[in-house]
């Protein structure tokens, strides 16, 4: 971190206020970014992080307050104007164009021209030079869509920086990257910071905050809670700032239900797999047991879940439920067998945003009954009402379109959708992703309770501490293969980590 001009703020936000329909989304928020620092912007869902970013980058207008860049007040009205002023944003979903070439993406809207004609050769040469700075040596004439999300992120950052950005806002850039890709991204961020660019880093991952950020600003309910140096802020204090209360012990306590070792498996899969998707694996799931699937992103966790649910058709192996061989050709087959699956991507794979909470809850049950046996409106109301009470879905209005609910409540409604079908096996893919810490604890409590009620549970999660907290057994995946199984006392964060990191030879020894 350069020590030149540490006192002069690069970006200074004072008293920013923004209301939506009378509701204060931002209430007199201050925020200061210095040149050359990486500054974490943290807060629960609804804290006002994205509103702050949108106001600063001109996507939203403000009601009151000032934004100053280098001491000069600015008021951009579009993302383009903000970029011209020197503030660039890279979002979680890479906002580039997969159908254009890498070079075109880097230079869209500012292509080098001569007499109005774009100079393609010069553009590609410049693109290669720019990307070399970021440690990428790729074919810049190839369509962007052919590269991985991590590469696309770096290209998006490269574009932003090359647009002479001095403030770079990264909104959850690491959410869909694996550990190695995160490292690559961090290297890029450090290099940019050393060149004097101020970086605002929004993330859910506290580990990453402590790895890379110099300072932290915490928002809660649209207000500024505080700004601290990372080095002098213990983790517990940070969580307290974010939550405004002590984190319940729930997520860190281990309470494995005693394993009924003798009971026969509810569902078992032998040599189950699909070419170029997940290597064949054996897996047995028991009633009253939580099995965790751990591994890095892209290691085959979600793929395993989709295979078990029939969302992807296995081309190897066999499945049996209660000892009887079954066919899993589609989600409908799986649902008929009593399986349920809450997918990771709530918005695209889970909710039907326009339909009401009631309709979303009864959807799977109705689909299983078939369209010829409609649930009466009274039955629907009764089912929806029961689960809204049971899971404490808020607001408790079954006729509200589900798209208007918060992420945590949508997740609970999806859980209700499957619970309504009275499943015997529930597959939860990242049940706590993207929801605030409060709802987090509730979801975990629910998982435990379901398990106690005799459900077989399979939970995919990248939060190792969570998995350790509730799983009786953890299956570790690496490179699209099941590489280790940890059971009982062997389940710990370090054991999982070493299984993920182990080479094949060592992994064998870790496997229980």
């Amino acid at each position: 971190m350069p020590t030149t001009l540490p006192e002069r703020p690069l970006l200074e936000v004072r008293g920013l206020t923004k209301s939506f329909a009378g509701l204060r989304a931002l209430d007199g928020v201050d925020f200061t970014l210095r040149a050359g620092e990486i500054h974490a912007l943290l807060g629960e869902n609804g804290a006002g992080k994205s509103t702050l970013i949108k106001v600063v980058t001109g996507v939203l207008s403000r009601d009151a307050g000032t934004v100053a860049l280098d001491g000069r007040a600015i008021a951009p009205r579009t993302a383009g104007q903000a970029a011209e002023a020197g503030i660039a944003t890279v979002y979680q979903e890479v906002n580039l164009l997969p159908n254009l070439s890498v070079a075109q993406n880097l230079f869209l809207g500012r292509e080098p021209t001569r007499f109005g004609i774009v100079r393609g050769g010069a553009m590609r040469r410049r693109a290669r030079e720019i990307l070399k700075d970021f440690g990428l040596a790729i074919d810049v004439a190839a369509p962007l869509g052919e590269y991985s999300v991590a590469v696309q992120h770096i290209i998006a950052i490269a574009r932003a920086v090359d647009l002479s950005a001095r403030v770079l806002i990264l909104d959850e850039p690491t959410a869909s990257l694996d550990a190695h890709e995160v490292e690559v991204l961090f290297a890029v961020m450090r290099r940019l910071a050393s060149r004097g660019i101020g970086i605002v880093f929004v993330t859910h991952f506290l580990d990453q905050v402590y790895t890379i950020c110099d300072r932290i600003t915490v928002l809660r309910n649209g207000r500024l809670v505080g700004e601290r140096e990372t080095a002098s802020l213990p983790r517990l204090d940070l969580v307290t700032m974010m939550l405004g209360r002590e984190l319940s012990e729930a997520t860190h306590e281990r309470s494995h239900a005693a394993l009924d070792g003798g009971s026969a498996a509810y569902a078992s899969f032998t040599g189950f797999g699909k070419a170029a998707y997940v290597a064949p694996f054996d897996l047995a799931l028991h009633r009253g047991e939580v099995v965790g699937l751990a591994g890095l992103l892209g290691s085959g966790r979600t793929e395993t879940a989709r295979l078990l649910f029939g969302a992807e058709r296995a081309d190897h192996g066999s499945a049996s439920v209660n000892g009887r061989p079954v066919r899993l050709g589609s989600p409908r087959d799986a649902i008929r067998l009593g399986f349920g699956y809450c997918p990771e991507e709530r918005k695209t794979d889970g909710i039907v945003a326009e339909l009401t909470v009631r309709e979303n809850i009864v959807l799977a049950l109705q689909a299983r009954r078939g369209f010829l046996r409609p649930l009466s409106r009274r039955r629907q109301d009764e089912i929806a009402g029961r689960f809204i009470r049971l899971l404490d879905i808020r607001p408790a209005d079954p006729e509200r379109p589900i798209g208007l609910l918060s992420g945590g409540n949508q997740q609970k409604a999806l859980l209700a959708r499957w619970l309504a079908t009275e499943p015997e096996l529930l597959i939860l893919d990242e049940p706590t992703r993207g929801i605030d810490v409060g709802a987090h604890a509730e979801i975990i409590r629910l998982i435990r309770q379901l398990c106690a009620d005799g459900l077989a549970l399979l939970v995919v999660s990248s939060e190792l501490d969570e998995i350790v907290a509730y799983a009786d057994r953890v299956v570790v995946l690496r490179d699209r293969a099941h590489v280790a199984t940890l059971e009982g006392e062997a389940v710990s964060e370090t054991a999982i980590l070493s299984a993920i990191a182990a080479t094949d030879a060592v992994a064998g020894r870790h496997a229980a």
Binding site: A83, N95, V118, E146, V149, D178, G298
Partner: protein, 328 residues
């Protein structure tokens, strides 16, 4: 390479089709047939250039046929009834058309409505306006209208490169340059890829959208001028359904109807293929005109199915590549 494939296939289909025609009818292989193909389809080609921009940007323009009809009636009235010199009338009608397209583009952008429904309104409006101007067919007998269609460069083999055909070729060349080597063209592709992302990248989406529909209507107006020259008349029913032929030509030319991919050259071949089918049916003499529609439909299906399988393959490939980025 991949993205060139549809155009290569289109070109191959045209060449094979042409070769088959030549085998069946020895007179087919003559400069006369080839250049008549250009002249007869000039108005379709001009409007297809505009449609190529629209479709690559992820939109659609249903109004072009009506705009052509409106243009012919407007010209007939302006030249025959009001006695305006043809060139003045041309300029006037082009201004009207451009303004009309700009209005549609502005509505699409500012009201955030689908182009399908906005240009549907434009289609009703333009056709209705031409009906209001006149419901009868008006012959135009200005000097320009008798001279220009006959002006042509004579070629060996009886071929005549008419002024009309030259206008179309010029429009294709200009359109190709605009699409492939300018900033505007790159933005058109960007819009077809992802509108929101393009806006977030700081590109002026609204301006480009309005320009695209302005260009489409402007070229529809030019096409109307050519159409009126070709038929020497103005008719409010002229060019009914041409929007469909135009869209078909663009798609047969290898442009993805969902936007983001395509080439101007492909559209040119697409127009020629449509012309080839019509010429074949004329040469045959026993086939009825409806076979043109059926053949166009079959070709349309073949190309759409082909593109669909290409997109499917590309999707699978990129997924594999994404998976293949190893966490070393």
């Amino acid at each position: 390479m991949n993205r060139l494939l549809p155009v290569l296939v289109t070109t191959a289909v045209f060449l094979i089709g042409f070769a088959l025609c030549c085998l069946q009818f020895p007179n087919f292989l003559s400069t006369r047939v080839v250049f008549n193909l250009l002249t007869d389809n000039a108005f379709l080609g001009i409007v297809a250039v505009g449609m190529t921009f629209v479709i690559i940007s992820g939109g659609i323009d249903l109004s072009v046929g009506s705009v052509i009809g409106f243009t012919t009636v407007f010209l007939a009235l302006a030249i025959q009834r009001a006695g305006l010199p043809p060139l003045v009338a041309f300029a006037l009608v082009l201004v009207v058309c451009a303004a009309f397209g700009a209005a549609m583009g502005a509505v699409i952008h500012h009201l955030e409505m689908p182009p399908f429904i906005v240009t549907l309104a434009g289609m009703f409006l333009a056709r209705g306006a031409s009906f209001l101007l006149s419901t009868e067919s008006i012959p135009i007998d200005a000097a320009l209208y008798t001279d220009l269609p006959d002006a042509a460069i004579r070629l060996p083999g009886g071929g005549r490169l008419t002024v009309i055909a030259m206008i179309m070729l010029a429009v294709f060349v200009a359109g190709g340059l605009l699409l492939h080597v300018t900033r505007f063209g790159a933005t058109v592709y960007a819009l077809g890829g992802n509108r929101t992302a393009t806006a977030l990248m700081g590109v002026r989406v609204g301006r480009t959208t309005i320009l695209i529909y302005t260009l489409s209507s402007l070229l529809a107006g030019l096409s109307g001028i050519v159409f009126s020259l070709y038929t020497s008349s103005g008719n409010s029913l002229a060019a009914t359904g041409v929007e469909l032929d135009t869209i078909a030509a663009v798609v047969i030319g290898g442009t993805l109807l969902t936007g983001g991919q395509g080439f101007m050259f492909g559209t040119f071949i697409g127009v020629l293929i449509q012309g080839l089918i019509a010429t074949y049916i004329t040469f045959d003499g026993t086939l009825s005109s409806w076979w043109t529609k059926i053949a166009t439909g079959v070709l349309l299906f073949a190309f759409i199915a082909f593109q669909q399988s290409m997109v499917g393959l590309a999707g699978r490939r990129s997924r594999r590549r994404a998976a293949g980025v190893a966490p070393a």
